[in-house]
């Protein structure tokens, strides 16, 4: 297997890696960098558990993205939303609204929400449901997650967002 030297920028930090061409971003994060906050749920882009943010706005399933294609892009994982131990408003809203049960889908849900709100700061409930489609939760019935996204949107619009 051919390998390639790449620089992955994750949560504001550059990591130099030698990866096989077919190394997924999820493998690079979890296995090579030991950043396990991004979860493996299905490996085929069907559950959304491995969702990360690209360049602060777009979301991808890291299990379907090649690490080598991420050269030059800024990747944010759920751990990277927390600054100096302070929760991001989205994380705060998930905690307050009881949107977390087993927590395994939570990192993906939070990052999907970050992408959703970056594109649409004032989503309707239908926008939120549509926006979260592709991320599966087996615990919550989505109800408290949707309330948390609404709350996060309010918090960010009220000035709670940090750079």
């Amino acid at each position: 297997m051919k390998t390639r030297l790449i620089t992955l920028c994750v949560n504001g930090r550059d990591y130099k890696l030698e990866v096989p061409h077919n190394r997924t971003l999820l493998q690079a994060l979890r296995d090579d960098l030991q950043l396990t906050d991004t979860k493996y749920g299905c490996g085929s882009g069907e559950c959304g558990g491995c969702t990360v943010l690209i360049n602060g706005k777009d979301n991808v399933n890291s299990c379907l993205s090649l690490a080598a294609e991420m050269e030059g892009k800024h990747i944010t994982t759920v751990g990277g939303l927390t600054k100096n131990g302070e929760l991001h408003p989205i994380q705060q809203a998930f905690v307050e609204l009881g949107a977390i049960q087993c927590g395994f889908c939570t990192p993906g849900m939070v990052m999907k929400t970050a992408s959703l709100l970056a594109h649409n700061p004032n989503p309707s409930e239908d926008d939120i449901r549509r926006g979260l489609e592709g991320n599966i939760c087996r615990c919550t019935g989505y109800e408290n997650i949707i309330r948390a996204v609404q709350k996060a949107s309010q918090m960010i619009n009220a000035g709670g967002a940090r750079s």
Binding site: R30, D31, Q34, T36, D37, T38, K39, Y40, G41, C42, G43, S44, E46, C47, G49, T77, V78, G79, L81, T82, L87, Q91, F94, V95, E96, L97, G98, I100, Q101, C102, G103, F104, C105, T106, P107, V110, I128, R129, R130, L132, E133, G134, N135, I136, C137, R138, C139, T140, G141, Y142, E143, N144, I145, I146
Partner: protein, 782 residues
């Protein structure tokens, strides 16, 4: 208003912040130096076959492969992944016919996904590459996918101990003639003025917890076998693994990790035996086994499918004179839960209504499908689909309102419960029905949707359910709790209770805080399995109820000791002292001692050099309880659903749902609401979209989230959950369970709403667009 400080409060869960930041460690997240990777090689091409030739030599030659393990390289002992054998006496187990019939690696494939051998390699990729080099030759055998096929006299016998491939019927010693119930059903049925009789087909559905099974294990030089696992049942799995590998429990070090969802899917042993066997083959090296999502459907357990026949007789006034039922259940390829689920499916039927007479029978057969096991609700969703639709059919033919019928005929306080002999201590089902009906606008919608035309048809349906808090008296219920008071007055609660994500550690912390009178921040739930006493684990909606009862008692034990210490020091009788605001105070208010001071001097018991006296009563305070609950405080609930069906596409949209739940007292209300909403997601799937499909060779056709349709955010209805709180007299803080309840009554409510919309009752779940279109076309509905 409640005078409670912590119980019943809407507060963040104790583990929410670590989960929302990605810091919670699931088994697959663990990283140890020098870790090896284990791959369980499965049979993917056959559902029933003998292995005639297994050649591991090519796999072993792959660079980076450390070891390959065939069936004879690991223990040959048989086991049962399930745990019921640890929860009933040996006599009862014998009577039930419990058997052990599974092995780590097999040379006789009974279902697709059976494990053939194991590969241990330096990386996951190498293990996968080596797995592809394993050479297996099979002799295919006839495949039996339904009980009526495996029950045929000439069918190959799965197990010599179970003739006719019949794994279970109700044991003769307890239930003569395979009957659970009461009264003379045949005689009562002759009085019926209306008889409703149907056979329902129930689907095989999967737990689909989002965390795929993953483990790390290490067999160290001291002879200790460590296993990191997200099992729901740490103590029972520790016990079973110690037994399987023939070592004392003190050498089996089970470290529970954060659990990424369970729903019964992590009840008992799953792939712990294979992982431990691989670790024992490479002493001193950590070994990680990360199973793949697509393995889950073929290699682990699911809900029991089967045929469920129910005949009910009614008088014209609605009186249910008799109910006669037979559940022919499919346990799949191994025994696993062949006894438990088929029995309880009948218990939920027995526990629901005041039948004149009732007779429940069950027969369980082997088939060549993945084993059936525990799945949230444990037979109750199956019964709900059958019983609640039957009731609605009768109501329609008798012209009786389904809500009024249920109010009249559901069991009440004092009536015999699901397990005959334990009467219900509380029931707020009537209130659930009334509040739910008002919320959804039952009467108006029933009338409005009575006569519809056009392509979109709406319907509204209701369903009720009973469940349990813990499995007593059917199975052992026991939790040990220890409360260690630190020298600063904070507390560590040592229990083996797991938190599958339902919030039980939060509820236990609230109960401890309430009982001890100290803030939740000063309490930590410690899950160390070497030090923790016994606990059954997360099943049967028991942790808040039984674990909570144990924690409450252990905290009361602490309080008793605090008062005794203060009494000795202050010279005031114990009956004159009480604990308030972290102080032990005399009832006249004149004397007090802080809890912190008592705890501190108990540890640092110095002698005063001036007078030679000790500064207090010596000894660190520890509370203890070994708690066996006296009841099972069953919850009840009413669910209302409104659907809209497009008769041109067959598509069903669940528009709205109202769930009113008889919770006794909600310890952590957001978690209770969350359990009901999450349970509804699973129930809606079982009713409308979810079903494991097999081809004629017994190979699964839909082992992915792409092909196995779970409800997503857009599919879920507008949902209202109503908590009806009337504390149960037999429960700690009056609480009743909610864990499994959520998956139960949305099943019947949605099925009844579909029936209301179309005038067609569907006896087969899931009620897919294909089935709806077929029925609509057959009846010429336009």
């Amino acid at each position: 208003m409640s005078d409670l400080t912590y119980v019943g409060k809407n507060i963040p869960k104790v583990d929410a912040k670590e989960k929302v930041t990605g810091q919670a460690m699931y088994a697959g997240d663990l990283q140890f130096p020098d870790t090896l990777f284990g791959k369980i090689v499965r049979c993917w091409e056959h559902a029933h076959a003998k292995v005639t030739h297994l050649d591991l030599s090519e796999a072993a030659k792959v660079p980076g492969v450390v070891k390959v393990l065939g069936p004879k390289d690991v223990t040959q002992k048989l086991y049962n992944c399930g745990v019921l054998d640890l929860l009933a006496s040996a006599e009862v187990g014998h009577m039930l016919g419990e058997i052990e019939d599974q092995r780590i690696f097999t040379d006789y494939v009974k279902h697709q996904g059976d494990a053939i051998c194991g590969i241990i390699a330096e990386t996951q990729e190498i293990a996968e590459a080596a797995a592809a080099k394993v050479i297996v030759k099979y002799e295919p055998l006839p495949v039996y996918l339904q009980p009526e096929e495996s029950a045929k006299p000439d069918a190959i016998q799965f197990d010599a101990r179970k003739p006719g491939n019949k794994a279970f019927q109700l044991p003769e010693g307890m239930f003569p003639n395979n009957v659970y119930g009461w009264g003379d059903v045949d005689a009562e049925m002759t009085k019926a003025e209306l008889v409703i009789e149907n056979t329902f087909q129930l689907p095989k559905v999967k737990q689909c917890q989002i965390e795929p099974h993953a483990y790390v294990a290490l067999f160290d030089q001291r002879g200790r076998l460590s296993i990191w696992t997200s099992t729901q049942m740490p103590k029972l799995v520790q016990n079973k693994l110690a037994r399987l590998f023939e070592m004392p429990q003190s050498k089996l070090n089970l470290i529970p990790t954060t659990i990424g969802g369970g729903f019964g899917g992590k009840l008992g042993m799953i792939f712990e035996p294979e992982t431990c066997a691989m670790a024992m083959a490479v002493p001193g090296r950590h070994i990680k086994v990360q199973s793949l999502r697509e393995e889950d459907w073929v290699a682990s357990e699911s809900r029991h499918p089967g045929k469920y026949w129910l005949k009910m007789g009614f008088l014209k006034d609605g009186t249910p004179v008799a109910a006669d039922a037979l559940f022919t259940a499919d346990t799949g390829a191994y025994f696993t839960h062949a006894t438990g689920v088929p029995f309880t499916a009948g218990a939920w039927l027995i526990g629901m209504y005041k039948y004149g007479a009732v007779r429940y029978k069950t027969n369980t057969y082997y088939t060549n499908k993945a084993p059936s096991g525990a799945f949230r609700g444990y037979g109750n969703p199956q019964t709900n689909f059958v019983l609640e639709q039957t009731v609605d059919q009768a109501c329609r033919q008798l012209g009786i309102d389904p809500v009024e019928w249920r109010k009249r005929w559901h069991k009440q306080v004092g009536d015999d419960g699901w397990c005959l002999g334990i009467p219900y201590a509380s029931s707020s089902l009537t209130e659930c029905l009334e509040r739910g009906a008002a919320k959804i606008g039952w009467a108006e919608k029933r009338a409005k949707y009575a006569n519809q035309s056009g392509p979109k048809r709406r319907g509204v349906g209701v369903s009720v359910m009973n469940h349990t808090s813990g499995a007593m008296p059917m199975l052992l219920e026991h939790t040990v709790a220890k409360v260690k008071m630190n020298e600063d007055g904070s507390a560590v609660i040592n229990v083996a209770c797991s938190d599958v994500g339902a919030g039980s550690h939060t509820a236990l912390t609230q109960i401890a805080a309430e009982t001890l009178g100290i803030p939740m921040e000063d309490i930590y739930i410690d899950n160390n399995m070497d030090s923790a006493g016994f606990d059954v684990g997360s099943h049967a909606s028991r942790t808040a109820y039984v674990g909570g009862g144990a924690v409450m008692k252990a905290c009361e034990d602490v309080n008793r000791q605090l008062i005794e210490r203060a009494s000795e020091r202050l010279g005031i009788p114990v009956d004159q002292l009480e604990i308030k605001n972290r102080q032990v105070v005399s009832k006249d208010g004149k004397a007090s001692m802080s809890v912190k001071e008592i705890c501190s001097v108990g540890v640092s018991n110095y002698v005063n050099p001036a007078n030679g006296e000790r500064n207090g009563v010596p000894g660190q305070i520890q509370g203890y309880a070994s708690h066996f609950p006296s009841h099972n405080s069953p919850p009840f609930g009413a669910c209302f659903a409104e659907v809209e069906i497009d008769i041109e596409t067959g598509q069903t949209k669940v528009v709205e749902m109202v769930i009113a739940h008889d919770i006794g007292r909600a310890i952590h209300p957001p978690s209770v609401h969350g359990q009901l909403a999450g349970g509804a997601q699973q129930a809606l799937g079982m009713t409308l979209t979810e079903e494991m499909r097999y081809d004629e060779k017994g190979l699964i056709q839909n082992n992915s989230f792409f092909d196995y349709k779970l409800f997503g955010p857009l599919d879920m209805p507008k949902l209202t959950t109503i908590l009806v709180e009337n504390p149960d007299p037999a429960a700690p803080y009056g609480l009743k369970s909610v864990g499994e309840a959520g998956t139960v009554n949305p099943v019947g409510a949605v099925a009844n709403a579909v029936s209301h919309a179309l005038g067609i009752m569907f006896t087969e779940a899931p009620i897919t667009p294909e089935r709806i279109l077929k029925a609509v076309n057959e009846r010429g509905i336009k």
